[in-house]
């Protein structure tokens, strides 16, 4: 019974350095059965290192890494996963059907070739040499290779890069179908709308750590805030003391205010400062929440460094 609750992939305090660079600094991650977890973060945040650990490509220097309760370097654990990496140059002269046949041969109970091709939308490409495909078609073939082994867990690293909107939505539909069949997915992406469209949970990384983890709704709630920007001479402390204001800062002449109740704050601003100009009110999207989260982490990291120095 406890099996269904145990995470199927787990990082626990994982540390990995490349020379002096700390790529992962005590990363925590738990992936549960049947969910799609999106791993977000700016370049260099440690997403790729986290994935590499879970795939058994590298070893952690400290902490533990588990895939289905086993060391990911054991082939028994990896027989249950499918993988789509960001850049893998597949043999250019092999035909798509041959690539599928080869990859399926690694798995104990793979899908039939036709079923895989149908799911990934590449039934018309089977006879074509890989090198003759467009970038988007190559990504679809890589997706097919990821799902051909009937995996319980799919690793998708930036799966829709280089795809047009239609191809992207087809891929999303295929991912949803796999999840409906009980497959779990660990997705890394730069496209926040992709995480928004697919993910049950999101995990935001910065500087080798997880800085936010929760459902998409929770992340969105964090960003139910609106942004007010204006030119005003009002003292920053005055604005901060207003109950509706959750954050305020000044850049040059410009005030940046975050609030859940923009109307009330704007009314007060206009009353307090008749000279106020250049008023802008904006709704923060997932992208902004994300930038804000990672900026906070950047600032914290700066402070850490200064304290260390």
């Amino acid at each position: 019974m406890s099996q269904s609750i145990d995470p199927i992939a787990r990082l626990d305090g994982a540390v990995k350095r490349y020379g002096r660079l700390v790529a992962l600094d005590g990363a925590e991650l738990q992936l549960r059965r049947g969910e799609l977890l999106a791993l977000l973060g700016p370049n260099g945040a440690g997403k790729s290192t986290a994935i590499s650990l879970l795939l058994g490509l590298i070893r952690a220097e400290a902490g533990s890494v588990e895939l289905f309760g086993q060391d990911p370097q054991r082939i028994q654990a990896r027989r249950r996963i499918g993988v789509m990496l960001q850049n893998a140059e597949l043999p250019p002269t092999l035909r798509v059907g041959e690539l599928l046949r080869l990859t399926a041969s690694y798995y104990p109970a793979p899908r039939a070739l036709a079923e895989t091709a149908e799911l990934a939308g590449i039934a018309d490409l089977l006879k074509r040499p890989y090198a003759k495909l467009s970038g988007g078609q190559q990504r679809r073939v890589q997706f097919a290779l990821a799902l051909c082994g009937r995996p319980e867990l799919l690793f998708l690293d930036e799966p829709t890069v280089g795809m047009d909107i239609e191809a992207r939505q087809k891929l999303w539909a295929a991912i949803r179908q796999l999840i409906a069949e009980g497959c779990s997915v660990l997705l890394t992406t730069h496209y926040l709308e992709e995480a928004e469209a697919l993910a049950d949970r999101v995990c935001v990384m910065a500087h080798g750590r997880m800085i936010h983890e929760g459902t998409v709704e929770e992340l969105r709630a964090r960003v139910a805030l609106k942004r007010i920007r204006c030119l005003s001479a009002l003292p920053i402390d005055t604005v901060r003391s207003w109950p509706q204001v959750s954050e305020v800062r000044r850049e040059n002449e410009r005030l940046h205010i975050s609030t859940a109740e923009a109307e009330a704050v704007v009314r007060r601003l206009l009353e307090a400062d008749p000279q106020l100009a250049g008023l802008e009110v904006q709704r923060a999207g997932l992208a902004e929440a994300f930038t804000e989260l990672t900026r906070d982490a950047d600032e914290a990291a700066d402070v850490d460094q200064r304290e260390a120095a």
């Binding site: 795939l55 058994g56 490509l57 590298i58 070893r59 082939i75 990896r78 027989r79 996963i81 993988v83 990496l85 850049n87 893998a88 140059e89 597949l90 043999p91 250019p92 002269t93 092999l94 041959e98 690539l99 046949r101 080869l102 990859t103 041969s105 690694y106 798995y107 104990p108 040499p129 082994g149 690793f155």
Partner: protein
């Protein structure tokens, strides 16, 4: 009863899995052969380079020295020719595939690690066979060398198995250097080693010091076997075979360790 059933099912599952793993080996070897046969630009120069060398130095230049010289050179250029698909076929392709991310992808997949190596090994053995057959054809027709069928067969066997220690060496170099740097590095090993083990000029023609250190090189030992195959050497061969096996195993282990740790 219940356990008896589950044991037989799990035994059947194991058996099934074993068959699947064997299938993975075959598929990998098949794909490896297919991809290089469809892109002859990679293997062809590797096979033709030593053949051209033999044609120039072993056949055209050596006609004045008679058929015995051509026979001697058939063995040593045969070794020179076999080293090439081992070192380059294995080393360069590994270095390129590490660079392009293909090896990373395969390592992430549940590919049996031996399958990848076996595929490349079979390819190198096939290429070595082609090289020896090319040289044999030139020696028997243009070089007027006379060989018995058994001798020709022995040389072919020595070549196809003798490629393996060089595969191991090429693989190790391929794990040290990524991408485009590998061919240059392999040339730096290939050409001096061939010269110093007496493959271009017979050892007695080389400086005394080089003669003394020749047994350090695996190519020297393979040359001894090839000379014996064409009937130009008497004496025990086992020591050469053992040295080659030891060489192959050590470099294979070194390379496997590096691949496991660094990919």
């Amino acid at each position: 009863m219940q356990t008896a059933i589950s044991i037989t099912t799990s035994a059947r599952a194991m058996d099934m899995l074993r068959r699947r793993v064997l299938g993975a080996y075959l598929e990998e070897a098949r794909s490896e052969c297919l991809r290089y046969m469809r892109a002859p630009g990679f293997m062809l120069p590797i096979m033709l380079f030593p053949a051209m060398f033999y044609l120039l130095f072993g056949v055209l230049m050596a006609t004045s020295n008679g058929a015995e010289a051509a026979r001697y050179l058939l063995a040593s250029y045969g070794v020179f020719g076999v080293m090439s698909p081992g070192l380059f076929g294995f080393g360069v392709s590994l270095a390129l595939e590490r660079d392009g991310g293909l090896l990373t992808f395969k390592r992430a997949l549940p590919m049996p690690p031996g399958a990848y190596l076996l595929g490349k090994m079979l390819m190198a053995m096939a290429a070595a066979g082609v090289v020896i057959l090319l040289l044999l054809t030139m020696a028997l027709t243009l070089g007027h060398v006379s060989l018995s069928l058994a001798q020709a067969g022995a040389l072919l066997l020595a070549g196809m198995l003798g490629v393996l220690p060089f595969c191991a060496l090429g693989m190790y170099v391929g794990t040290l250097i990524k991408g485009q740097g590998a061919p240059g590095m392999l040339q730096l090993i290939y050409l001096p080693m061939s010269f110093m083990s007496g493959l271009w000029f017979p050892l007695p023609m080389l400086p005394k010091f080089l003669q003394q250190i020749a047994p350090v090189w695996p190519s020297y030992h393979l040359d001894m076997l090839a000379l014996a195959a064409v009937g130009m050497k008497q004496g025990p061969l086992l020591v050469h075979v053992l040295v080659l096996i030891g060489f192959a195993v050590s470099f294979l282990l070194l390379a496997a360790r590096r691949l496991r740790r660094h990919g």
